[in-house]
Amino acid sequence: MKRSVVLAGFLSVLLTFSFFMAVPVRAQETIKIGFFAPITGPAAADGMSAKHAVELGLKEVNDAGGIKGKKVELIIYDDRLNPQEAVAIANKLIEKDKVVGVVSGSYSGPTRVTAPIFQKAGMPMVAGYAVHPDVTWDPVQKKPNDFIFRNGFLGEVEGAAAAEFAVKNLKAKKISIISMDNDFGRAISSGFAARAEKLGSTILTKQMYKFPGEKDFRPYLTRIKEGNPDLIFAAGYYNEAASIVRQAKELGITSQILGEEGFDSPKFLEIAGPAAEGVIIATNLDRDDPRPLVQNFLKNYKKAYGEDADMVGASSYDAFMILVKAIEKAGTDPKAIQKALLETKDYNGLTGKISRFVQGEVVKPVQIQVVKEGKFRRMAVIDNPEVITPPLKQ
């Protein structure tokens, strides 16, 4: 007993000592950026994609000499898609790790609970692909979280862009909607329905399914089949998306299926198999974009991790690079970084040209991709400003 107390005391002294020794030296040498993603748990495939892509970005930055000669250090946390976990991570990043800025490679749930913490601490955060409005908006005080920026689309914007394509390009008149019942599903399907109806199409049925949990979509799809729609707009993440697409095919449904960025994962293609062929999605990455930035990323990602990059990875990469650019421009003072982010103009991103941020929301074209021979390929780009400019929150 006594000996262990002595030992513990000795160890803690040693630890404290090494802590004081280490911190000043490292703080001078590196610029710390925080990062969190659901690396394990139900969204692990997306979490890993985000982590891989950001690590690729980190390597590029450091290989090119870092930021003004200083190496960038990434502090990575796994939020397991758990908001409580994310709160602890946010506090740790601010107090213990003393990062200069944060990148979210996570979903809306964990990202939106961290937003007020970073906002209060005056710590800039760029979210890769979290879609909930309250990431960039304080719903209590009804004002923007002006330290938080988002590289992905608002659910409403992406939904509206999908509807624009469905009605104007695919000439869909009768449409059925099947959507997961969560923030993202509700936002994107209401954005879709509003735009589709404004353009003169009819929504035959609108069904919500429980997420997570639903696996058997046959009852929903059988009901959709009765109405024989021109198009089915389906909102969900890759597992549910694959089930919907596969089961629709099994039931002999021939209507065009239009999905969203939740489909944009190699897992979707794997689980849906041949049924994925011809499925169209609205998303945030154009794999056939000829810019070397995009093609090099896709090539390097494949080389490093042995699988194709997806929307989640590309969006997180962009979020990281946007933050790095701002630090390059403004230094390591969080307030100055925020100012640089606010002044972002015509930034040449992997996921498209970002013209600016409005209330923290990105303004850039929405990509329409189609599955051809088991791969996502370019089909169209929606750049109608009426559709892609995020509605002002108030």
Binding site: P219, Y220, N239, A242, E250
Partner: protein, 285 residues
């Protein structure tokens, strides 16, 4: 399209039946709530999946899944439940819950957190009559469930072992005094119940084309509700309750289009049955 919804409901109800039967049989004979049964179900799906990857034949993978689950069920009975039978029934229940959680974590560690596609070709083909479509996987589920139920019925009513098993469920002590080896009967009970759960795991693996670590968590409590609905320990009642739950869920979603969470159906039904018919759908006081 009512007939299509009917098929959808009976198909999912059949899978519920395969899972719930093992649970009700175990309760009938040991009076233990075997929560880890849902872990045995998920194990069957994983064994089926990996053996399909190895041998490339769906039917063999179904057999492997059933055999692996049967073995797992037997081991659980032999090493966990039997030594605890002298304790109040809360003890094996706690063990069962702990084991179920441990199994889910074990699946995650061994096979990874991702959903894995089964991607099996069964070789049965679809059946189309006009707009109505009996899909290959639905034919598979109906066929396999039908064969298993016939086997179970024949076993329980025509064989001496089956007779002994039913006798044990009524009164194990008296049955034992007639020279029946109750231990062996309990083991057989677990082997059969777990093999059925394994079959259900493989069938769902193919029906959803997905196998994932927590696939047992919804069946774990839904099967419990179904078993109560069927009258604890009542085999025909459990089959009926499963089909009813599958049909009601499907009709709520697909016909009435009521946004009522599917997994609540079994529980609402359970509460109603407990209030008005406490011995289950087919039960007699």
């Amino acid at each position: 399209m009512l007939i299509q919804q009917l098929t959808n409901g009976i198909a999912i109800g059949s899978v519920y039946a395969l899972i719930s039967l093992g649970l009700t049989m175990v309760y009938g004979i040991l009076k233990i709530l075997h929560v880890a049964h849902a872990g045995v179900y998920a194990l069957g799906a994983y064994i089926g999946l990996f053996s399909f990857r190895l041998v490339g034949d769906f039917w063999l993978s179904l057999l492997f899944g059933m055999a692996g689950s049967a073995l797992a069920g037997y081991l659980i009975e032999h090493f966990l439940y039997t030594p605890l039978l002298h304790l109040p029934r809360i003890a094996p229940l706690i063990v069962s819950i702990g084991l179920f959680t441990a199994m889910e974590e074990a699946f995650r560690i061994v096979a990874g957190p991702h959903t894995i596609a089964y991607n099996a070709t069964v070789g049965l083909g679809d059946l189309s009559i006009g707009p109505f479509r009996l899909t290959e996987t639905q034919i598979l589920i109906l066929l396999v469930t039908f064969i298993i139920l016939i086997f179970l019925w024949a076993f329980l009513t025509k064989s001496r072992t089956g007779l002994a098993m039913r006798a044990c469920a009524q009164d194990a002590e008296t049955t034992s005094s007639f020279g029946v080896n109750v231990k062996a009967i309990i083991a057989i009970n677990f082997l059969i119940g777990s093999a059925m759960a394994g079959a259900a795991g493989v069938l769902i693996g193919v029906y959803d084309n997905q196998v994932w670590p927590t696939m047992g968590s919804i069946p774990a409590y839904k099967a419990l509700a179904i078993v109560v609905l069927g009258g604890l320990g009542n085999i025909p009642g459990t089959v009926l309750a499963s089909i009813v739950v599958g049909l009601v869920e499907t009709f709520f979603i697909g016909v009435l289009a009521i946004p009522f969470p599917r997994d609540a159906v079994a529980f609402v039904a359970m509460v109603l049955v407990l209030m008005f018919k406490p011995y289950g759908l087919l039960g007699k006081a």
